[in-house]
């Protein structure tokens, strides 16, 4: 028993060193990539005079289910985006609140007789609306089928070669689309590009546009800001650099429409539809021996509302973990399969080990260390060292992300905000991280029990200050 406890402690330590060591490798890769990107960006002088000539038209799809509090802001933000040829397709997915009515009122929508071609199966469409005042806006009212089904309906109703998905509780920077579509104009192999998503809580948003970026005032939202920076700034950039990017956030992603249609659109039987789609693209296009690329860009930014109460946050994280499990399981053929290159040999196994199982290992590890020390099976100094390693490596990663942000993009211009967020990066190891792991474990339980509930997060209207 004593030997087992000691072995488990060392196993726990080895796991943390391995996983965080790999994350540190990603930090190094990302730092180099961000440096290179920033240097090129600093040297590039876009005046915008030719931006209207070299571009691909984009359809922005905004799925909405009971989003009456934020939908008008979101649509206004998309309509305010600087892009030469853009259509906005809002899909009301069986909303039972005033989402559709808000849209009709705000944008003076009228019913349209246009027919929607069903390139991808989706639940029946009840009506299509257009606006004489905003000719680039189209609203689809359909029977409820979930977010994936709403996105499929939006893709069906879109007419342009690129489709960009934005969550109904998000706003995008005015130049985001110009940045995020750039890889498509240079490289015909690019099928999907993801951009950075950041919490909008605390920012001043006016007429659907972020006027001033500020750190959130709510503690939970601050922890999430650090998390988002860590996930996007080095996680995804690093994976993209390794050509093994497996996830593009559903809150802000852009795809080549033909590629999405070719793989059959979003799956409606998973809550992790964004990750599942990217994994399926890797699988199908690699099977077809097609040359394709999935990229991530660090400067197109989308601002989204993050939960500010424990209940909503726990629901969201459980759902994400369940989505991760579903996506990985549905595409398990990728695992350790050399046919799928970096995704099969590196990305997939690491996601299983470092993302899917990490909350279980972490909580189990804490328990094993505590029991080991309590029973005097493990030296308390060793136990403390293991805990410190487990806890502080995470904080170092978060601080690295903050450092990278300050050095490169400086999305948070205020020094005070950077100090506050860096402090939260230090503090997250004491409680928040453990709570987060617990929610993720519950998400895995949900997956195993096949719990289907989506849950509706509590939405607040965007601030206007």
């Amino acid at each position: 028993m004593r030997q087992l406890l000691i072995d488990l402690n060392y196993l726990f330590l080895a796991y943390f060193v391995l996983v965080n060591g790999f994350y540190l490798l990603l930090v190094i890769l990302s730092s180099r990539e961000v440096d290179r990107y920033s240097r090129i960006r600093a040297m590039t002088e876009h005046q915008g005079v030719f931006a209207t000539t070299f571009y691909k038209p984009v359809s922005v799809i905004v799925p909405a289910h009971n989003e009456e509090a934020t939908i008008v802001h979101t649509v206004s933000s998309v309509l305010a985006v600087r892009y030469p040829e853009l259509e906005v397709v809002v899909v009301s997915d069986g909303s039972t609140d005033g989402t559709l009515e808000e849209l009709i009122r705000a944008f003076e929508l009228v019913p349209s007789s246009r027919q929607v071609t069903l390139d991808i199966p989706c639940r029946p469409i009840r009506g299509l609306y257009e606006s004489p005042t905003y000719p680039s806006l189209r609203v689809v009212d359909k029977e409820q089928g979930g977010k994936a089904d709403a996105l499929n309906a939006g893709i069906n109703a879109s007419s342009f070669p690129l489709v960009c998905n934005i969550d109904a509780d998000s706003v995008i920077d005015v130049d985001s689309l110009v940045h995020i579509t750039r890889p498509f104009t240079r490289d015909h192999r690019v099928v999907a590009v993801g951009g950075v998503v950041m919490p909008a809580n605390g920012c001043d948003i006016e007429n659907g546009e972020v006027k001033k970026v500020r750190a959130p005032r709510n503690s939970l939202a601050r922890f999430q800001t650090v998390e988002y920076l860590r996930a996007f700034l080095f996680g995804r950039i690093g994976w993209s650099r390794l050509n093994s990017l497996m996830i593009i956030s559903g809150a802000f992603a852009i795809f080549r429409r033909t590629a999405v249609v070719e793989v059959g659109g979003y799956r409606t039987d998973t809550v992790g539809e964004d990750m599942e789609l990217v994994l399926r693209m890797h699988r199908i296009f690699s099977d077809q021996k097609r040359r394709y690329r999935v990229l991530f860009l660090p400067d197109p930014i989308c601002w989204t509302q993050v939960p500010e109460d424990l209940k909503s946050l726990s629901k969201q994280r459980r759902r994400w973990q369940r989505g991760l499990a579903e996506s990985l399981f549905k595409n398990r053929r990728l695992c350790f399969n050399p046919k799928y290159g970096g995704v099969g040999l590196l990305g997939y196994p690491f996601f299983v080990l470092g993302e899917l199982l990490s909350p279980v290992v972490e909580l189990f590890g804490y328990a094993v260390v505590a029991v080991g020390v309590a029973l005097n099976a493990v030296d308390w100094r060793l136990g403390l060292a293991i805990l410190a390693c487990a806890m502080f490596l995470g904080s170092i990663l978060s601080l690295s992300a903050m450092y990278l942000e300050a050095r490169s993009f400086q999305k948070y211009p205020s020094v005070r905000d950077v100090i506050v967020l860096s402090s939260y990066a230090l503090l997250e190891s004491f409680g928040y991280r453990q709570l987060h792991s617990l929610w993720r474990c519950l998400g895995l339980v949900d997956y195993l029990r096949k719990r289907e509930s989506w849950g509706q997060p509590r939405r607040m209207a965007f601030q206007r200050e």
């Binding site: 090129i40 002088e45 876009h46 030719f50 000539t53 342009f160 429409r257």
Partner: protein
């Protein structure tokens, strides 16, 4: 961890701290007065540039002033920079810095100040393998407005940096309108070889544009349109007749609308039956921009087009064209119509994607 924390705060303070803002505010106030010859302002500017850090910040400030052409003549800025001793500092940086990017950035600013010393350095740096260096060198070479380097600069920045075509076109626009005859000559070479049905596998890429070089052709077409270079019209129409490249066709259509010549109308009407929807929709937009009311019957047919974007473009165009008086159209049929200024954009339009055809 503490070290990382301190480093983060330090970087943030350094980059966006009050000192940088204070310096920018001071220079924004002093620069116009110094350029008017005020010795006091010049002396205060000189004083503010004592520290190395201030000179680095001033470098960015001056480059932004030159880039945005904020109303100051580069020659008066050159004189001021020389009198501040800043030119000498930049030259030292351009020749002595170990960091290639810093050298290229210094060369770029010096080139914009029309300092001849930067020319040879910029041309040398154009061969670098670092994309940031190539970009800075490209802007520097363009600043000298020597059209013989137009194609080599395009090759360097497009082949060796992630710059998109619109970025490349913006950079090349730095060569100025004077380079239009060279651009036209390059396109005429393409037209000539296409007309003769001759392929040229051993083409000198630094001097000529190949028939299958889509990127170079569309950039040249767009630059000629941007400068509203009317003498290019016959070549653009000839290329439209000969090319089978859809992307080139789309840019030609947009260029014809931008050059604003009514002689393009009949060709544009023909293109309304093109198999690619982007060509059709862009032709509709171009006809609307040219105010070609004669095209209304053909555009009406497109209201039933299989593609939604074409149908929408046709409806929009008809709304514009049907209110134009017949007399105005008849007058235009007689000759050319001068286009709008470069700052106006007549048409939108999409770069073609080969996977979006009907």
């Amino acid at each position: 961890m503490i070290l990382l924390f301190v480093a983060t705060v330090f970087v943030q303070v350094r980059k966006s701290g009050p000192q940088t803002r204070r310096l920018h505010a001071l220079w924004s106030e002093l620069l116009p007065i110094a350029l008017q010859g005020s010795r006091d302002a010049t002396s205060r500017l000189r004083d503010s540039l004592r520290s190395r850090r201030a000179r680095r910040v001033f470098h960015d400030f001056l480059d932004a002033e030159l880039r945005h052409r904020s109303g100051y003549s580069p020659f008066s800025l050159r004189e001021l920079s020389r009198s501040l001793g800043f030119t000498a500092w930049l030259e030292g940086r351009m020749r002595g810095s170990r960091n290639l990017v810093e050298r290229a950035a210094a060369a770029k600013t010096l080139a914009r100040l029309q300092e001849e010393s930067a020319r040879s350095v910029a041309l040398k740096l154009l061969d670098s393998g670092d994309p940031a260096v190539v970009l800075a060198a490209g802007y520097a070479v363009a600043a000298f407005r020597d059209p013989s380097y137009l194609l080599p600069v395009f090759r360097a920045v497009y082949d060796r940096t992630p710059l998109t075509l619109h970025g490349a076109a913006e950079l090349l626009s730095g060569f100025g309108k004077e380079s239009c005859p060279v651009m036209l000559g390059l396109l005429q070479g393409v037209v000539r070889r296409l007309g003769e049905g001759r392929t040229s596998p051993s083409l000198d890429r630094q001097r000529e544009v190949a028939e299958d070089d889509t990127a170079a052709q569309v950039v040249l077409i767009d630059l000629l349109a941007f400068f509203h270079y009317q003498p290019a019209l016959p070549t653009l129409l000839a290329l439209l007749d000969l090319t089978e490249d859809v992307e080139v066709t789309i840019h030609l259509v947009k260029a014809l609308a931008k050059v604003g010549d009514y002689r393009a109308v009949s060709k544009l009407v023909e293109l309304l039956e093109h198999s690619n929807w982007v060509v059709r929709s862009q032709s509709v937009r171009a006809l609307a921009a040219l105010g070609a009311r004669v095209a209304c019957p053909a555009i009406r047919v497109l209201r039933e087009d299989g593609n939604l974007a074409v149908r929408t473009a046709a409806e929009d165009a008809l709304r514009v064209l049907e209110v134009i008086p017949e007399s105005q159209t008849a007058a235009r049929l007689g000759g050319t119509e001068s286009g709008p200024g470069p700052e106006q954009d007549l048409v939108g339009g999409g770069q073609v994607s080969h996977d979006q055809g009907d």
